[in-house]
Symmetry: C2
Subunit: 229 residues, 2 copies
Amino acid sequence: MPRLDESLLTHLPPFSRLEKRQIRRILDQASSRRYDAGVAIFQEGHPAERFFMLLDGYVRVVRITATGEQVTALHIPPGQLIGIARAIGRDTYPATAMTASESLALSWPMHLWDNFVAEYDGFATESYKTLGQRLGEVQNKIVEMATQQVEQRVANALLRLVNQTGRKVENGIEIDFPITRQDLSELTATTLHTVSRLLSGWEKQGLVESRRKRIVVRDPHALVVLSQK
Amino acid sequence: MPRLDESLLTHLPPFSRLEKRQIRRILDQASSRRYDAGVAIFQEGHPAERFFMLLDGYVRVVRITATGEQVTALHIPPGQLIGIARAIGRDTYPATAMTASESLALSWPMHLWDNFVAEYDGFATESYKTLGQRLGEVQNKIVEMATQQVEQRVANALLRLVNQTGRKVENGIEIDFPITRQDLSELTATTLHTVSRLLSGWEKQGLVESRRKRIVVRDPHALVVLSQK
DNA sequence: CGCCAACTTGAGTGCCGTCAAAGTTTGTGG
DNA sequence: CCACAAACTTTGACGGCACTCAAGTTGGCG
């Protein structure tokens, strides 16, 4: 295994208050692994043996119903910890983590969690902040689903993706990982058909441009207006 | 202020590992207060000055949209901490806590939070477990809203309330705090009209009985069946 | 006894899901 | 390099669930 560079972690919140020496030690205990798009990093209900730091790529936190439908609860950008069951006193993962794009993650055996919390200043605090943010996001999602129409939810989801993961391109801002109509529908609790119709409509009005698995937002402001009506 | 009895806290998870002497000290720092039904214990966005232990009554965790609609994200039973913004590194409350019934809560100034975490064994762990449970519940709710019809959601909500707060009565199990059609509709993201129609229907079939603000479930099993179809 | 909140019920309608079919892009193996 | 399959996308037709609007009833409280 190639020796990992310290700069990978120095700027990430859970580790940002640590000294080089400490980060070195943390890296030496880590495994690094690449994941293809669309695979599970860990699965709901399985014993929580490791926790992860997503270095590159995007991950969907997914729950699967009895009838096999998938519901996406969260999208996680690079630089966050995932699979931190231990932080909330669980010994199995509470949800499945699927890669949305090709991804790279470090991981550590779960028994190191307590060490990290005890030895590294700020590690626990920052982890719990992340947890709090996620709780907030999930609550927002409930509010959205309870009060908004499908059109507004899809507009919001697009805006959120653009903000989190947008990359400037010629005609606007592109979501920088492959995303299908199906993915968007799971994110917004609707069907791929409805998403397709909406995107077609918006494309005709010049708000977005899309090809297979790629979406470019040309007029974010118009989407904001849509999302609030 | 009357001296509070130690037995109030001894059996509650965040404090259950502590000695009598420690609990005494914690109680001496607490304020105790009664709340009428339907009032806010604290409000979203306000500075998080105190954290609370709900001793009696029920609390709805509510978010209010720009247009004034209320959405209930969680129901909290007695024996849980609320308003623990500090635990997730926030200094304002992330949601509003409304009493669903007359309630009783202890509270402490937020600056004691760090003391509690540092000095009392198990306090932090148990608090984070609670947090994790809430994250799980909220995610369940998203899945429910994404995949189930209104009828099933209402049936589920009723079952959950009965499990959390049910009290045996002559003809079945009664939800032991006043709850309106409106409350149920905010809990399940529908309208009071639809809830009213559903309850009327179920009443005709003998599944439930209801008068103003009171609901008795006569046949929980039938509701389970409904909720899963 | 009057008022108000809570609840009920009916009628109409529109959003969006389901069903169905066809078109387009990408990748793969011969 | 072409054929073909698989994955993704589009579009139309139809219908039902649940929302809105509207009117009225019930029950509790001062």
